[in-house]
Symmetry: C2
Subunit: 340 residues, 2 copies
DNA sequence: ACTCACCCTGAAACCGCTTACAGTCGGCTG
DNA sequence: CAGCCGACTGTAAGCGGTTTCAGGGTGAGT
């Protein structure tokens, strides 16, 4: 039974008959220590159940060994995947992960950022929809940060982003190749740069092939299942429904699929459907969802590794703005249109 | 442009022409401060862009204002929901959330727990499958903790658990009421107490109604989609397939649904299917999944609130072992058997 | 005018750890 | 044998806050 309060390094030192400096040296493997002293210290640590107090350590080393992850919202499979990737890599590197999500507005985000001061060594920020100037104003300049999902290369910050335009083009081209001409789009939330880029890529692909651009076929959405469902209902109710639908993410595709089915439209026989993200369950839907494949967890892991490099390597590391190239996973939710 | 290093409380004090004690008093709204001094301090804080260093604060107050969340694994919608609930409540209470997942074995978990020492004020632990004695040996006795998903009332700890047996009975009774007699079960991972309880409730319900208990209809699973898919394939291949299937969680139900569909079995016409958890997409599946509804995010939120009460209320709070009662959400994946 | 309470304030002691610096000691070299 | 070097160790000064405690005003009561 250990004593009721956590022992400090002083108690370990006196129990081992050495000074605190020696205890510290043993525990951090720094500086020379005689084999005899080392043994005594380790023994004292063991019997007292000593664990260094990390706030104290942080105060003197100026490192906390934890990194912050700020998300626009903690919701759904996408979030879960990205955090999984980060957590895995963090553990390997000896870091801890402090997450925070559901930031309704920028003021709140900046409050959270403040509260994180001194609590984290680095930051991974999902910034879809956050402008570069806001970042520059709000992010402490000393805080190493990696931006995920930022729009263009945000000047001055490291970032990893998905080539959303390319992904959207892949999806649209796939549908065009199958012979579809009336293709609807379920957009993401306005203000979200990922969503905007996907919209742009989609339009470009259609324009490049001379497909009609019908503004009534671009429906609003918010990346949630519910909005996809509503869009699907609305499209199914059209006098002349589209023969294919591209949802800007998988969650909306799932909602849309449910709506189409409830309206008696079969996928892919009556309508083809493409999603974006390739969340784990996409392949288990009925029918399996054709979608733009993004290595979500891997991106999270890479972001963390990059951050650790920055933390260890100091300043001399060159900034990088990586772009991840998505691929199309063709499954059974797409087919040639009926009367093609 | 703020100076290149973060200002300390001393710089704020000298800039405001007061002592550090006064600055601290202003910032923490403790002790009397003249209106004049308060204004000067706040102004200095503003111009210097001062943010208190939380490690230093933690060292002297002995509180970190962050709580740890340990999960068996960071995966899927269930995790995401629970963290969302915790995060939301944490923000409201001024706490930060340190997550850690993917603990393959107990040794690793206990290492993580050690590393968390001094880093967190309290702990929320998803313990499905962790024994009480391990907890008592490993958890620092001073660390307030709330156990989620623990099996029985783990002596000496606060906990919130779902009544898994009841949930499973609800699901089974629903199927029995519809007239099903050959009901298959896709189990969760062995060693997981949630899974074990669900199995138990399922068997009890069948026994209570005199339904045949066929061990070949209890298939292994691991809470992942893939295992549900395999189970579904195996069941579809039977000479005499069951008329209903109860999957111990929604992810496996989704996998199973895909397998049944690919084998040409229709749900619910040929086979009824029930899941467990009611993850957000369950209602958007085709057909919408009948499932045992668990307020996942709410449970996370309650766990955090409970923890905060313990942290603020001190020792005089009575331990509680809450049980959350699930309800059955009947949707379109269940129907009376064909030849009933 | 003297006390006393009360409000406000600052000096200084912590919190627990790291680390620069200044030894101590034994053994080797010249 | 003096001198030096190198391996080891301890003392004490931070890190940046909070908090105790004593003291300096001020106004009221007598």
């Amino acid at each position: 039974m250990p004593s009721s309060h956590s022992p400090s390094i002083y108690e370990v030192a006196s129990s081992a008959g050495v000074s605190v400096a020696t205890v510290s040296r043993v525990l951090n493997a720094k500086g020379p220590v005689s084999e005899d002293a080392r043994r005594r210290v380790l023994h004292a640590v063991e019997t007292l159940g000593y664990v260094p107090h990390s706030a104290a350590r942080s105060l003197s080393t100026r490192r906390t060994m934890n990194i912050g992850v700020l998300l626009p919202d903690v919701y759904g499979a996408f979030f879960s995947e990205i955090v999984r990737g980060i957590d895995l890599a963090a553990r390997a590197a000896g870091y801890h992960v402090l997450v925070s999500g559901s930031h309704s507005d920028l003021a709140e985000t900046s409050a959270v950022l403040q509260a994180l001061h001194g609590r984290i060594d680095g930051l991974i920020l999902l910034t879809a929809g956050i402008g570069a100037e806001w970042l520059r104003r709000t992010l402490p300049s000393r805080l190493p940060a990696v931006l995920l999902h930022s729009s263009e290369a945000e000047g001055g910050y490291d970032s990893i982003r998905i080539d959303n335009r390319l992904g959207a083009r892949l999806a649209a081209d796939h549908l065009l190749d199958l012979g579809h001409r009336r293709i609807a789009l379920i957009c993401g939330p306005c203000g979200n740069t990922d969503a905007a880029e996907r919209l742009r890529g989609f339009r470009e692909a259609l324009a490049a092939r001379g497909a009609p651009a019908d503004p009534r076929l671009e429906l609003p959405g918010d990346f949630g299942e519910e909005s996809g469902f509503r869009a699907g209902e609305s499209l199914a109710g059209e006098a002349e429904p589209p023969t294919a639908i591209f949802a800007a993410n998988d969650a909306m595709a799932i909602g849309c699929l449910a709506a189409l089915r409830s309206r008696g439209l079969r996928v892919p026989d009556d309508v083809s459907l493409v999603g974006f993200d390739d969340i784990p369950i996409a392949r288990y839907l009925t029918p399996p969802l054709t979608t733009v494949q993004v290595p979500i967890a891997e991106i999270g892991g890479r972001a963390l590794q990059r951050l650790v490099e920055m933390l260890q390597g100091g300043r001399e590391i060159a900034r990088r703005n990586d772009v991840v190239t998505p691929a199309l996973a063709v499954r059974a939710s797409t087919a040639a249109p009926r009367e093609a």
